[in-house]
Amino acid sequence: MSAVIDSHGTSHGHDDHHDHGAPAGLMRWVTTTNHKDIGSMYLWFSFVMFLVGGVMALTIRAELFQPGLQIVRPEFFNTMTTYHGLIMVFGAIMPAFVGFANYLIPLMIGAPDMAFPRMNNWSFWLLPPAAILLIGSFFAPGGAAGVGWTMYAPLTSQMGPGMDLTIFAVHILGMSSIMGSINIVTTILNMRCPGMTLMKMPMFVWTWLITAYLLIATMPVLAGAVTMTLTDRHFGTSFFNAAGGGDPVLYQHIFWFFGHPEVYIIAIPAFGVVSQVIPAFSRKPLFGYASMVYATSSIAILSFIVWAHHMYTVGMPVAGQLYYMYATMLIAVPTGVKVFNWVATMWKGSLSFETPMLFALGFLFLFTLGGFTGLVLSMTPVDVQLHDTYYVVAHFHYVMVAGALFSAFAGVYYWLPKWTGRMYDETLGKWHFWLSIIFFNVTFFVQHFLGLAGMPRRIPDYHTQFTEFNVISSIGAFGFGLSQLLFLYIVLKALRSGEKAADKQWDGADTLEWTHLPTPMPYHTFENPPTIK
């Protein structure tokens, strides 16, 4: 990718002369229509949710530290698993990347803001009510729902009011995602500055165009699935009830039709961030830009036709299993193209290893590992052994924590100087990286062994044979959790007393926000669009 910048657009500050700054006080944040404010709110919200979900993960790990029931009752353990999954996926990771999208897309394509700033604000402000409903379900009679983040029927029919609160939270989250995605797609398609053709857009923008499409296509399906759950629970419908001619497995089909694209909704923006960071610190353009675009699109398209690889054990016909196995394996090809392209970008570059680059490399290494275990799971006969065991838990934490979360860290370190005008502490950043990657592996690598040996997931207690690895995993989890407090400290320290950052803090960075805007950025940017040749 090479967006050659028209020289007259490079004059800093020239197009911000009528910048009046932001209104002050709390109301600024409540009423803001500024994409930077909204992006920041998304990111902060997501971090808070990460801590909430993380505390739940630690509750899980604390209970699993030893065999036997020590800390929580089994039904509460199930709610921890459920809301840990829901909050991490819908509260932490997805909003984090929507935050990046909001902050960066208008900057990267030279737009004055998002296409619908007011609706943008609503997309964000729908999240707190959803979080209130989710967390509120713990205070409902009978407690929250212990059904797993996948909310399989008919177990959902046995739950108390907490289930309904959760269903409605999912509805609100869906609304938020759909509105946010429509905004993003429209912004990308309609608000690019002159000369910014689609194939000149930074990779991050491309990944969001594709992700937003996935979101618009799948969130309504999830809404449908939980709506059916709701009517089965309260209005006597029979979607998931065999006695009435329905089928519990129908729920799984609908859920995974959403759920599988969902995992790429989490992964693809992460690819985008990494595709900005690796070239910047390799001081070399992204290798195979066009093939990256095609690969990402293929992943998105394929993601719609592989969903039943989560359902190999429900008893589908063998032809179905074969089809889903082959289709799933295919996804390794475009994902592989991306991995190879990143490595080729680094090849013969001039590499330096600041914190963002470290996290991007951590992503590359561990995400690929997680992708490979995904491939193992895609083999139906092997998956029959591994389904619903800790092997699966290990697989998806590799792709979602070491994948998506690490990529988000890379992104925050990379853009923090631009956003705040201040640098983070590089030494501490490196500590954060090394502690995270070590403890991450301590936590999750051993879970592969647990799964291979047959430890089922979603259980509060286990046979003594599994003790040793669980002890290791729990120790790692606490270490990993503590390391994240360091991240909070680093960000706060940068905000309060970080050194002033340069306009172009990273010499390899080549997107508009680095090349066309001063650091710190004015409140409104690109009110008059730059031109790109």
Partner: protein, 284 residues
Amino acid sequence: MSSTTPTHNYYLPEPSHYPVVGSVALLLMLGGMALWFNGLAFGQWSTLAGLAVLIYMMKIWFGKVIEESEGGLYTKRVDVSFRWSMGWFIFSEVMFFAAFFGALFYARLYSVPELGAVDQKLLWPEFNSAWPTAGPNAMDAFTPMGAWGVPAINTLLLLTSGVTLTVAHFGMLENNRGKLNLWLGLTIALGVIFLGFQAYEYSHAYSELNLKLTSGIYGTTFYLLTGFHGFHVTVGTIMLIVVWVRCLKGHFTADHHFAFEGVAWYWHFVDVVWLFLFIFVYWF
């Protein structure tokens, strides 16, 4: 606010409190519904309060949008944004209906035949799968809804309304306001009649056909699919009414009337969904 001065080529609204009002409304409404469905205190009141706030929010928000539109703040580029967004929104609606149609097809092609297959005789020895069915454990019999009575009339109504709406659009493009107002009014009337028939059909089903929401998978898919469609028709009719009132007030010009077109797209979409319903829910 500087950001509202039309020096930009793209209109950026000033800070706004409508969104949070909407969020509070949804929190009250959906939180209330969760309580209500479980018979807990304040549930229905919270739901109603939330609904009221939501309606208030929509009134002021859309009021503001109309004001901005009539104030000439929406340039061509903004107009294009609206078009993209409406298209994607309708796509999301398509996927929502797809989930329910998926459930219908799955039941008819997989779960119901399987429940009657030899393998399942162990559990349901007497069940013979056929569509329509209330499932192997059906309590009492019902009569399915035939296609050629009310539903056929409704099909005609909706198809006609698509035509009248297009005629109205021509009125708009020709700057023939009389034609516009008349045919748009007709479209609304057709929508309302459709809804009337639908209501009649439901009451007929409940009182005479013994076809209920609880009538197994047939009743389930029948009511959920037609119900969601009916809900969309209701929303579409309300939007048409708003646009009609605006037309009567003299809003819109021949080359600036996105609101009209957006609603028209939506209406056609609802129309097409109905055709699918007619074919797969009523007919076959």
